[in-house]
Amino acid sequence: MAKPNNMTIIAEDVRIEGEFVAESDLQVDGSVQGVLKTAGDLQVGSTANVKADVSAKNATISGTVDGNLLIDGRLELREGAKISGDIVCEILAVGTGAQMNGTIRMGAVPVSAAEVESDEE
């Protein structure tokens, strides 16, 4: 088995409620409710259930996300991904069977979520 790297992991038996901020890459296989932020890359596994606004550098999603996604770079939605919320990203890749319900904005990503909100007003 490969040695683990320093990626923050929320396994499928763990539930988080509140504002979760990771400084490193983050893998979510469990439940998160509230706010989910990472300065690194985010992976949301097929067993994950995220009810949170999400921001990350890049993201790969195979599970359920109920909330807005603000991704600086590439967002990949894989088979089994279910997104209910607005997406802002620079590059979007959508796999067969991924579901999206919300608006999508692509290109240069605003510096912060606040900028997105002010643009929308």
Partner: protein
């Protein structure tokens, strides 16, 4: 000035030859010092505090992990540097993590005085260097970094500061200003094959409370409380380390 604290078991006749070799090596390297011999009802804390007042700057635990535990609290709170000379084959995890070889070879490392400011975990008022374990039950409320609540049904929480890594989690790094929260979980894979995974979250503090008494182990010792305030104290301990340390 060095102060050597010999654990009780080290004074056994079977270590006579090794003790003599170590003491000769200390003299050769110019790191000899006063020796305290622990015995039943002889408190290491009192001996160390008195000796630091008399000018001791470096406290060396001669024995195993348990010996180091006896030395850590009084030596760290008195501001002395801490080292270890591992004697005996068992219970030498901390020395191995610090890169300190067993027996007289440890004297070379002590003489080189490569001192690292190491973080220590703090549970209420008790320090831990290595790790703490807390069994989970439904009544525990866990607040992390004052910003989110964490819950899991069963198993044990590991809080790791200085700890070996394994196939599931990376080594605990005692100079990163964080405690590693680890919660292992075995999930069923294909064809009933079991796979162990773990939650791994570096954090600065946790607050745990329960209506019932929480029984936890801290560096091998038992600790009980209804409310636990757990944090990391950065660079709190000056530890002598070897080049083979794990961090």
């Amino acid at each position: 000035m060095y102060y050597y604290v010999y654990d009780e078991f080290v004074q056994d006749a079977k270590y006579d030859k090794l003790r003599a070799a170590i003491e000769t090596r200390m003299t050769d390297l110019g790191i000899s010092g006063k020796i305290a011999r622990l015995a039943l009802f002889r408190d290491a804390g009192e001996l160390i505090r008195d000796e630091v007042k008399r000018g001791a700057t470096t406290i060396i635990a001669v024995g195993n992990d348990d010996t180091l535990q006896k030395v850590i609290d009084p030596a760290a709170s008195a501001g002395a540097s801490i080292g270890i000379i591992p004697i005996g084959a068992s219970n030498q995890t901390i020395a191995a993590m610090l890169g300190i070889p067993a027996g007289e070879a440890a004297c070379e490392v002590l003489a080189a005085r490569q001192i690292e400011a190491i973080d220590v975990g703090l549970v209420n008022k008790r320090y831990f260097l290595h790790e703490a374990h807390i069994p989970l039950h439904g009544g525990l409320e866990i607040i992390c970094d004052e910003s989110y609540r964490l819950s899991a049904k069963t198993g044990t929480i590991e809080l790791r500061n200085l700890a070996f890594g394994d196939d599931i989690v990376p080594p605990g790094n005692p100079i990163d200003g964080k405690i590693d929260f680890v919660k292992r979980y075995t999930k069923k894979g294909w064809f009933s094959k079991k796979k162990e995974v773990a939650t791994w979250i570096p954090m600065k503090n946790l607050h745990i409370r329960s209506e019932n008494m929480i029984k936890m182990t801290i560096d091998g010792g038992i600790f009980e409380a209804r409310e636990l305030n757990i944090s990391i104290v950065t660079g709190a301990m000056q530890l002598i380390t070897g080049k083979d340390r794990i961090f």
